[in-house]
């Protein structure tokens, strides 16, 4: 007969293994650079994982979006990538986030980028707030700048 503590440990280990596998599988496209294939749900999970190694591919995804315009990476993917990078990145990702806040065509993405920048690198946002405000026409993004 299997003892209770053993059964509980086995079950917990199985669940943890399943979660780790699904996490790896969901971030595979992101790690491999197949950004168009990464779903918003996967990007959300990447952010929740807090895995610092995902910061580089997330940054690359956002850079590809800026480089290619609207065609490859959707607004929804970009929003989730910005949120995920805000959670997994550090102050050194501030410059990439500032570029998104300045250049992305979607006001929603810019608004989230400001929030993420406030989290990643508050001094950089403080230094750039004036320039961002003077270049920004969207009331939503302006409100975000005023809030952060």
């Amino acid at each position: 007969m299997v003892s209770r503590p053993f059964a509980a440990t086995f079950a917990a280990a199985t669940v943890a293994a399943a979660l780790m596998t699904s996490g790896c599988a969901s971030s595979a496209s992101l790690r491999e650079g197949n950004y168009e294939d990464v779903t918003p749900h996967e990007l959300h999970r990447a952010g929740k994982s807090g895995d610092a190694e995902l910061a580089a591919p997330l940054r690359a995804l956002l850079e590809e979006r800026l480089a290619s315009g609207t065609t490859t990476i959707t607004d929804e993917q970009a929003i989730e990538a910005v949120i995920a990078l805000g959670r997994t990145g550090d102050a050194s990702d501030g410059a990439a986030m500032l570029r998104v806040a300045r250049e992305d065509h979607s006001p929603d993405v810019r608004a989230f980028a400001i929030e993420a920048l406030a989290r990643l690198n508050p001094p950089l946002l403080a230094a750039e707030r004036g320039a961002l405000l003077s270049a920004e026409n969207d009331p939503l993004v302006r409100a975000r700048l005023a809030d952060n």
């Binding site: 949120i83 959670r87 929603d108 929030e115 009331p139 939503l140 409100a143 975000r144």
Partner: protein
């Protein structure tokens, strides 16, 4: 009861109703003005102005019981009152005892609104008119659900009315929003699906500028249910930019401020 007392009572009843009837016959405010006043009142997200506008509309409906537009407006007025109660019950700070009373009141407004919407269904002549009448009937009927039994009774009717409304006019964004509310508020076993709710409200917000504050507020509520406060926050901001008085957006904003998280 003596004859004198009976006469006095009859006279009293006549005196009570006479001014109202006189006012009805002389009140020739065009229906459009009354409907516009109701829309303005609904935009305030306050019960008192909605009640005021609804009273005027009910008086006009009494004078013109077969008016499609006035019956639609009456149903809208009751629905708006019931909606406000639901918003406060779901997202405001309401104690248990008051919540129960509000729920009962909500069911009553739903019932009264459904009566006018049922009438509008019969008076509707075009697909668009039918769509709006069925949408209102479905939404008012949803408010009548205050437990599992009434859910079994009214749930399927409400659902079929709202689905019919969308089938009659796929650009009736209020009907699409009503569908989104079913995804938002129903448990999964009854067709609830938060991802579909987000998708539906986003589509409505994109296509229906007139009610954008409402769509964004529901989108925020859906994100909150998905435990995504950072996404809810943006939708709250969008809703309040369109209408600073939006009750649902303000309630969610207050919750977000209480529980700061990213």
């Amino acid at each position: 009861m003596s004859l004198r007392l009976l006469l006095l009572l009859s006279a009293g009843i006549l005196m009570t109703f006479a001014p109202a009837r006189a006012q009805e016959s002389t009140d020739d405010a065009p229906a459009d003005d009354l409907i516009m006043a109701l829309d303005d009142a609904i935009f305030t997200n306050e019960d008192a102005p909605i009640l005021e506008a609804l009273k005027a509309i009910l008086q006009a409906v009494n004078a013109e019981p077969d008016s499609y537009a006035l019956n639609i407006a009456a149903a809208k007025g009751y629905l708006a009152r019931a909606d406000l109660l639901r918003v406060d019950r779901q997202t405001g700070k309401v104690d248990k005892a008051r919540e129960k009373a509000m729920r009962a009141q909500q069911a009553l407004w739903g019932e009264k609104g459904a009566e006018h919407a049922e009438k509008a269904k019969r008076l509707a002549t075009t697909k668009q008119e039918k769509s709006e009448a069925y949408r209102l009937c479905g939404e008012c009927t949803v408010h009548r659900i205050d437990g599992p039994l009434s859910g079994m009774r009214y749930g399927p009717t409400a659902k079929s009315d709202i689905e019919f409304a969308v089938s009659q006019d796929s650009t009736n964004w209020q009907a699409r929003r009503a569908q989104g509310l079913m995804f938002l508020n129903n448990p999964p076993i009854n067709g609830g699906d938060l991802d579909k709710a987000v998708e539906t409200f986003a589509l409505c917000a994109k296509n229906d500028e007139q009610h954008a504050d409402v769509h964004h507020a529901f989108l925020a509520q859906a994100w909150m249910k998905l435990k995504r406060p950072e996404r809810a926050k943006l939708e709250v901001q969008k809703s309040l930019l369109k209408n600073p008085a939006n009750r649902l957006a303000n309630n969610i904003k207050a919750r977000l401020q209480e529980n700061k998280q990213w």
